[in-house]
């Protein structure tokens, strides 16, 4: 301020006002994916804006990576020159350090750049991709261009480093690769399952007491429709496998994720099936919570059946289908400060596809299934600390459809749920945020409204605050060429509007109620 005191000319006075805005002027070209939030778990810690700042020669660009805090104040501009085909795929913050994943399409490399708390580059980890691996990634991870960035393969490990989970290809085996990148020292390990199957699918479940928990499906062949499901534990220190256990207890479960709740205990949760059931085809019986230790021992088992437990609150068939809602995909589980556990889910169901049926009649091998997926409403389930269902409520939203490929008619619903999330990117759920003492949280999702007064996209929230649940909706359609809604500090969203004619990007925060 004092620098501008006794300003002598108007030009200088004007420069003072310009500095007070977040608006970025003179933006020639920008894509939605140039902006993203930097998160630490569910907390938004900042944002980055990645853009080409100059052309150096035919093959090289100068890039600027602008890193901002969660109030959009610029913390650092990182400038560097690289191939013109470089993109940022992901970023994450682990409480002390920041990572950016760069992809160089020409060089076929993934580069993980780690920045310390002082803003200085600490380490760089490079992963070279084979031609086959690159092709496989293009059909999987790189295929999803998801503005809300719901699909992420880079997970923070508090103060220690980052875990990356990427599809991978080892010659003829289709698998996945887990990498750990330390932020304490230049140290990295990788884990890739290659034995005992021709195809592996792995989900990162979480980290607990120095163990990385993975859910692994093993397929005997690429067309195998009865995969084996198991839980694998890796040492965080070395990457060596500590245990591998079939996901069988009293019932067989298909783990969706891991949460550390009830005073620091780890729980794996997901839908459960009859023992020996085929989790890729059969109907699930309900929802299960397993307490698990660092050696993979199952300490507690709790099963909530669709008809007996959830049926008290919802109109659920014994096959797990909730009336008008369909099946439930659980996005997140969290425990509030008072011990109450909440599961946040979204509905989906298979319905006949007019397009699929018509194309089957007209073209023999159209590739489209006669069934399609309908993504339905949001759901909030409430449990006590012993996982007894205490309440369930469905929150309406408009449904949207996903046409399926041939063969998916007979795939089990939990498996379809993961496909919608990881393959089709079809859920409306965006993210859940909690405050520091977890006395409140907000579940955010997008929707589309065709109303009399408003027709367009909306951004919605279901918020829990000290026992009360409220909902809110922000109309995101504006005069802007395009807008994206990014997560922000708890209780807020960041709306980024790009105005092509005015060549400006206008980011502004709005609060959720």
């Amino acid at each position: 301020m004092k620098k501008l005191l006794f300003a002598g000319t108007l030009l200088l006075v004007l420069s003072f006002f310009a500095g007070a805005q977040n608006t970025i002027e003179n933006v020639q070209k920008v894509q939605r994916s140039n902006f993203s939030a930097i998160k630490e778990g569910t907390d938004v810690k900042g944002y980055y804006f990645f853009y080409i700042s100059d052309k150096i020669d035919k093959k090289t660009n100068e890039y600027t990576l602008r890193i901002m805090d969660n109030n959009l104040k610029v913390l650092k501009d990182v400038k560097f020159q690289d191939s013109k085909n470089v993109a940022i795929l992901e970023s994450s913050f682990n409480g002390t350090d920041l990572v950016f994943l760069f992809y160089d399409e020409d060089a076929k490399t993934f580069e993980y750049q780690i920045y310390g708390a002082d803003g200085k580059k600490k380490f760089v980890y490079t992963r070279q991709l084979t031609k086959k691996e690159k092709k496989y990634l293009e059909q999987t991870y790189l295929l999803i261009n998801d503005d809300e960035n719901t699909y992420k393969g880079l997970y923070p490990v508090d103060g220690l480093g980052f875990i990356s989970n990427m599809p991978s290809r080892e010659d003829k085996d289709y698998t996945f690769q887990i990498d750990f990148f330390s932020t304490e020292k230049q140290k990295q390990w990788s884990f890739t399952p290659t034995e005992g199957a021709k195809k592996f699918e792995g989900d990162y479940l979480g980290t607990f007491n120095g163990v990385v928990y993975m859910e692994v499906l093993k397929f005997g062949s690429r067309m195998d429709q009865n995969p084996e499901s198991s839980i694998i534990g890796l040492s965080m220190e070395t990457g060596k496998q500590i245990f591998e256990k079939p996901s069988d207890g009293k019932y067989r479960i298909y783990p969706a994720s891991l949460s550390v709740i009830n005073n620091g205990k780890a729980y794996i949760y997901g839908e459960y099936f009859n023992p020996n059931a085929n989790i890729a085809k059969d109907k699930s019986l309900g929802f299960a919570f397993w307490g698990i230790d660092e050696k993979g021992n199952i300490l507690t088992e709790k099963y909530c059946s669709w008809d007996l437990e959830l049926g008290k609150y919802l109109n659920v068939s014994s096959k797990g289908k909730i009336e008008d809602f369909g099946f439930m995909y659980v996005h997140n589980i969290l425990q509030t400060a008072d011990g109450t556990i909440f599961a946040i889910g979204e509905g989906y169901k298979k319905v006949a596809s007019a397009l699929g049926i018509a194309s089957k009649l007209l073209v023999r091998n159209s590739g489209l299934s006669t069934m399609k997926l309908k993504i339905t409403d949001m759901i909030l389930l409430k449990f006590d600390k012993d996982f007894n269902v205490k309440d369930a409520k469905i929150y309406d939203k408009n449904s949207n459809n996903i046409e399926l490929s041939t063969g998916y008619e007979f795939v089990s619903t939990p498996y379809i749920g993961k496909l919608i999330k990881y393959y089709y990117g079809g859920f409306d759920y965006s993210y859940t945020q909690t405050n520091k003492d977890i006395s409140s949280f907000s579940v955010c999702y997008s929707d589309y409204v065709r109303g009399k007064d408003y027709k367009g996209s909306t951004f919605n929230s279901i918020s829990y605050n000290e026992g009360k649940v409220t909902t809110d909706k922000i109309n995101t359609k504006s005069d802007a060429t395009w807008s994206i809604v990014l997560p922000a500090k708890q209780g807020q969203v960041l709306i980024v509007d790009f105005f092509r004619k005015a060549k400006k990007v206008d980011p502004h925060f709005e609060k959720l109620n």
């Binding site: 006794f6 810690k45 805090d69 650092k76 405050n435 209780g491």
Partner: protein, 460 residues
């Protein structure tokens, strides 16, 4: 009693008894501006614009017009809204101080100037170049005496007297149209690579040049201001003290820092720690000198020389003045009154400008200091209601600032709280706040409307 029932009881009590309450006279009356004077000033300013434009070289008319149009947008905003203060008392006082300066300096006689106070909160004073000189309320509240105000005025008059603004605009346009600059632009338009790097370099050199020119202007204006002031009879030591005030103004406050946990804590509704709880931050150890601009660049881009340098430059001249000047020549009591009034006026202006976080901050500072209670409490209630309304319709983002390292710690804590409050929490705070001061404020005009709004929020 449950908080909800208590709220209803309090609101009912208010409605039932309001008829019986005699209307209290507010302790503060907002200054009534002379709108005819504002209009005349604006007309004079427009005439000046026409005369400027008719005198510029024809080939550059478009460029001059663009700059003057922007300049007049600002002047229009200042002289046609409540931003400028033309109330007889405040404006008359300022004209008296101006008269003291002009009558002592013949060269200023007949100078076409319009010197006006503004209700703007930021501590600044500026000469726009057409003769309009603004002195912000946010600066006046920190001044100790009339002599310091006179020096500020002398400094801005010097800018106008020395034609700094006109010269700067002329220099800028001449540089833009210079053969060398145009040749470089033409060359760059044909380049394919590293264009932005070179453009940035070119722009930087222009900015450095302009800032260095501006620094020279500041030094020249300081010296001229000293010459003007020494003839007035005002105490020239005010030059040093006012520059010292400016040097530490970012860390200054008229009131003790806001204790948000105290002002928003009530017996039935205590302050929640989660509203201000600190979060981990990226680059928490970032060296402030490693911001996108290097230290050297930051220094070079400074608009003004450091105040300490300015003091050093003028100190010998000030000390050489042997006659003891006066701190007040017009009216000490009125100066003190205006300083107090201006704090309330700028608080109100923040509200009118939809700068709700500043409005709330200043209002709460007054409440905390137990000063101007009726108007301050009313201002807080009204602001919280407006925050509620705008948060509900998702338009609050433009009305409250985000935390920033350049702000004071207490203001940042208020901003953090505002960013975390939920609708029902805003209502609860406002309700308990109004209840606490109800007896003192119940007769204040407008307060009952705010209570009604609160009641509507409770019923939702």
């Amino acid at each position: 009693m449950e908080p909800g029932k208590k709220a209803t009881a309090f609101l009912l009590l208010f409605i039932l008894t309001k008829a019986a309450i005699a209307q209290l006279q507010p302790v503060y009356s907002f200054q009534k501006d002379d709108t005819i004077l504002k209009r005349n000033y604006y007309q004079q300013s427009l005439k000046k614009k026409d005369s400027y434009l008719s005198s510029v070289t024809k080939e550059n008319t478009a460029d001059y017009k663009k700059i003057y149009d922007e300049q007049y947008e600002l002047i229009k905003d200042l002289l046609t809204t409540t931003r400028s203060v033309t109330s007889p008392e405040a404006h008359g006082y300022l004209q008296s101080v101006l008269k003291k300066i002009v009558s002592a300096n013949n060269e200023l006689n007949g100078l076409d100037v319009r010197v006006v106070f503004s209700r703007d909160w930021w501590p600044n004073a500026y000469s726009i170049g057409d003769g309009t000189i603004m002195i912000n309320a946010g600066l006046v509240i920190y001044l100790n005496n009339e002599a310091e105000l006179a020096f500020v005025l002398c400094h801005e008059l010097s800018h106008y007297y020395l034609k700094h603004s006109g010269k700067s605009i002329k220099k800028y346009i001449e540089t833009l149209h210079s053969e060398e600059f145009q040749k470089e632009l033409k060359r760059l338009s044909k380049e394919q690579y590293r264009v932005n790097q070179q453009l940035e370099k070119l722009a930087k050199s222009m900015v450095f040049d302009s800032r260095s020119h501006s620094r020279n202007n500041e030094a020249e204006a300081d010296l001229q201001a000293f010459n003007f002031l020494k003839r007035t009879g005002y105490d020239c030591h005010a030059i040093i003290s006012s520059l010292e005030i400016l040097d530490r103004i970012d860390d200054s406050s008229l009131y003790r820092p806001l204790d948000i946990e105290q002002v928003f804590s009530f017996a039935d509704y205590p302050f929640k720690k989660k509203w201000v709880q600190k979060e981990s931050a990226i680059f928490s150890q970032l060296d402030e000198n490693e911001s996108p601009l290097s230290q050297k660049e930051k220094d070079s881009l400074k608009t003004h020389p450091d105040c300490s340098k300015r003091i050093l430059t003028l100190n010998d001249s000030v000390q050489s003045i042997k006659t003891q000047g006066k701190r007040f020549l017009v009216d000490e009591n009125l100066f003190d009154k205006l300083k107090k009034d201006f704090f309330i006026e700028m608080t109100e202006q923040c509200y009118r400008d939809d700068n709700l976080s500043r409005n709330l901050y200043y209002s709460l500072l007054m409440v905390q200091a137990n000063e101007n209670i009726p108007v301050a409490v009313y201002s807080v209630a009204r602001c919280l209601n407006k925050i509620y309304e705008n948060q509900k319709k998702h338009s609050l983002g433009e009305m409250i600032s985000g935390e920033d390292r350049k702000y004071s710690t207490d203001y940042n804590l208020l901003l953090r709280t505002l960013s975390r409050l939920r609708l029902d929490e805003i209502t609860a705070i406002n309700y308990h706040f109004c209840k606490q001061y109800y007896e003192q404020v119940k007769g204040y005009p407008g307060f009952k409307d705010e209570i009604k709004k609160l009641q509507e929020q409770k019923n939702q």
